[in-house]
């Protein structure tokens, strides 16, 4: 008897305290959020991913912000990229996301749709200096969840010294796919097994996306379905069919042996098709003196299918108590010219014109900025934030296409396999 009564009391106390705890969680919030003063500053948490270099630069920017805004203190934290998303997922589930966060485009829709992110159009952030083609990539269904800090664009990298040693003329970037293939074959033939033309460019999702745009096809429809047909993908994967198994393309076995370094960074290929902000990484990995960028091939000389993509964005937590402070910090990080001067192109090319103008670019930084300027007239609207589960789609695109290179599947089989995976995934996340 005593035991049972004791048990009931315990349960009752437990339930009551749980309810009390739950009540604590839903605090009252005003529209502007709590504000601070110089004597009693508010503290916001800001978190980013990146290495030592970025940590040093970001801390410098935070110091500058604090000196200009004595009523706000910024508590900066950082982790590596992979751990960053594990941590955010747990925090989002536990209701403890930091006030302001550095963000990646592929996670924007996921967190935005689950109402974890603050609609930044409800706070004061100046976006006048932004390229109008860029802003939609931070918006989902009319709400602005992210402000781009910086941009990157697709490009073909090459190593001029390696081409010169083979006696091959440097490309000028006005080429169609046939010419590009011929160029890769020439490098492979003269490279004599030591140097290959490049990695199979048809395995890169974003290059496929660029090609689709060259053919005026959108990769995803507005309701989040695939916007292209099996025939389109077949055509794409057949573009490099004649090169597979020749020295024009590095074999999949060899590329896997080189991982985690890229074949281009390992000085085994002469070209690479990827984002222009990988420059610093390639230079460090390969030890090359100079690398150059040219536009991607296109069969339509007037439509290169290129676009600027936010290399990273700034977002705020929907639950932040300091909306006003968060907005001021984001505004500062994306617009302030001095911040541009601190980061240079280490986040990508600054997205805001005021920040770009306030920054002096030299050396590699200048190469990347000049490249983006040179393709300005071809730029189209940035794509909307990728669909939920895009990371998985992108990875399976790479995997299936490397199966083609391994000779495990035919192009037709690969197309069927990828479409099945993609459609299942889209159905799951719908």
């Amino acid at each position: 008897m005593i035991n049972r009564r004791h048990f009931i009391t315990t349960v009752a106390i437990g339930t009551a305290s749980a309810a009390a705890l739950a009540a604590c969680g839903t605090g009252s919030s005003t529209t502007a959020g709590e504000t601070g003063s110089a004597e009693k500053p508010v503290t916001i948490n800001y978190t980013w991913w990146g290495n030592d270099d970025r940590a040093t630069r970001t801390r410098k920017a935070i110091e500058l912000f604090e000196s200009k805004n004595p009523d706000i203190k910024v508590n900066g934290n950082f982790t590596d990229f992979a751990g960053y998303w594990q941590k955010r997922a747990t925090e989002a589930a536990g209701g403890g996301l930091p006030d302001v966060m550095q963000w990646d485009l592929s996670y924007l829709r996921d967190y935005g749709q689950r109402n974890q992110l603050l609609d930044l159009s409800t706070v004061k952030i100046n976006t006048d200096a932004f390229d109008k083609t860029l802003l939609p990539s931070g918006q989902i269904r009319g709400k602005t969840y992210g402000i781009p800090t910086s941009t990157n664009a697709f490009a073909v990298y090459y190593d001029p010294a390696k081409l010169a040693s083979l006696g091959i003329a440097e490309p000028d970037g006005s080429w169609n796919y046939e010419e590009f293939n011929k160029f890769l074959s020439e490098v492979g033939a003269k490279g004599n097994g030591a140097l290959f033309g490049g990695t199979d460019y048809t395995g890169v999702w974003w290059m496929f996306n660029v090609w689709l745009r060259q053919n005026n096809i959108e990769a995803f429809t507005e309701d989040g379905k695939l916007g292209f047909s099996k025939d389109d993908l077949k055509k794409w994967w057949n573009l490099s069919a004649k090169l597979r198994g020749t020295p024009a393309l590095i074999s999949e076995e060899r590329a896997t042996q080189l991982a985690p370094k890229s074949p281009f960074g390992s000085n085994v290929t002469a070209t690479e098709v990827t984002w222009d902000n990988f420059m610093a990484g390639y230079l460090a990995d390969s030890g090359a003196k100079e690398l150059k960028l040219v536009p991607v091939p296109s069969d339509d000389k007037d439509n290169l299918g290129l676009f600027l993509k936010p290399s990273m964005l700034m977002v705020a937590s929907a639950k932040t108590k300091y909306k006003d402070a968060a907005a001021r910090f984001i505004d500062f990080m994306v617009n302030d010219p001095e911040v541009g001067q601190i980061f240079k192109t280490s986040r990508g090319v600054p997205a805001s014109q005021t920040q770009r103008d306030g920054t002096t670019f030299e050396g590699t930084d200048k190469l990347v900025v000049d490249y983006e300027k040179s393709i300005e007239k071809y730029l189209k609207d940035a794509p909307e934030p990728p669909i939920v589960g895009f990371g998985t789609l992108e990875a399976s695109f790479k995997r299936v296409s490397s199966d083609i290179n391994y000779g495990k599947v035919t192009v037709d089989g690969a197309v069927d396999a990828w479409f099945k995976e993609a459609e299942d995934l889209i159905k799951q996340n719908a």
């Binding site: 990146g50 290495n51 950082f78 370094k261 990484g281």
Partner: protein
């Protein structure tokens, strides 16, 4: 102790045909042992190769690590990577990361030893109502995947305002939440003869006295292996600190290690590997110092005739 009786005298002729492995010639034994050692050495080389690769790479310049560079040794031998590694990350010194890791590891060892041994004593030696149910529940927590409890745990610690302190990482150790160690010690204690406690009880000892004077000294091997495992696990833990710590000044080594390799910028493999070598040393030393106690402890256990 009995001595192994191996008949070495030559057997009578009539029995010579019968195969007897114990009477093989000395040369055959030597050949066998030679082959055994060669195979064992080859296997050791395979197993140790990653460690050798790591140590060799820590002296190479970053551009020569991985990728197309297959040679183990570089002519550009230098300590630069170690210098970079010791500089720390984002204004936090590497020494700080080491100290944090040590605090966490030592906390984990002390907490686990104290709590798990007491709980194990209760399970193994005290008869209390519901003992088998509680024991079953404890074993059940072993079967519960860690990932199931991550989010509920995070919510609790977040509501209590304990995120960004070491408490979420250590409190479980002090409350015997590591069921594996409790189980290990219970099994060990069950093998200790009950006559020992009974004798102590007759002499008037209570539970506290029996536990501290009889059980703890006898459990040394179990305590040592618990310490080794809990030290290594805490030293290598990545996910726990990642989730619960926010301030870089509080990060332990595993979090710091990852910061050298950034997929979106340039990766400093050299510094990461150099730091891995440094991070490996304390674990290695800890193991080398304590492992002999395991063997020692096992051989001294038991009743004397």
């Amino acid at each position: 102790m009995t001595t192994m009786a191996t008949p070495t005298q030559s057997a009578p002729d009539a029995d010579a045909q019968v195969y007897n492995p114990k009477s093989e010639s000395v040369t055959a034994k030597r050949v066998k042992s030679g082959i055994f050692h060669a195979v064992a050495l080859a296997l050791t080389a395979v197993v140790l190769y990653p460690a050798v690769w790591m140590i060799a790479s820590s002296f190479k310049p970053n551009a020569e690590i991985g990728g197309a560079n297959t040679s183990l040794w570089s002519n550009n031998f230098s300590f630069d990577n170690f210098a970079t590694a010791m500089e720390g990350i984002g204004g936090v010194s590497t020494l700080q990361f080491f100290t944090n890791s040590l605090i966490l590891a030592i906390g984990a060892v002390v907490g686990t030893i104290l709590s798990a041994s007491v709980s194990a004593y209760a399970f193994a030696r005290i008869k209390f109502p519901g003992r088998s149910i509680f024991f079953g529940m404890m074993i059940a927590t072993l079967l519960l995947p860690f990932h199931v409890v991550i989010i509920p745990q995070y919510i609790i610690f977040n509501q209590l305002g304990l995120v960004d302190t070491y408490i979420p990482l250590l409190i479980g150790k002090f409350l015997a939440a590591d069921a594996f160690f409790v189980f290990l010690m219970v099994q060990f204690m069950r093998n200790l003869p009950a006559e020992l406690d009974e004798a102590a009880r007759i002499d008037g000892a209570g539970h506290v006295r029996i536990f501290t004077s009889i059980m703890l000294p006898l459990m040394k091997p179990a305590l040592i292996s618990t310490s080794i495992f809990s030290f290594i696990w805490s030293w290598n833990d990545f996910l726990g600190p990642l989730l619960y710590l926010n301030t870089p000044e509080k990060y332990p080594l595993p979090l710091a290690l990852r910061l050298f390799v950034d997929q979106t910028q340039s990766s400093d493999y050299g510094a990461m590997i150099a730091m891995s070598v440094l991070a490996l040393l304390p674990v290695l030393i800890f193991f080398l110092v304590f492992q002999r106690y395991i063997v020692e402890g096992v051989s001294t256990q038991g009743l004397k005739g």
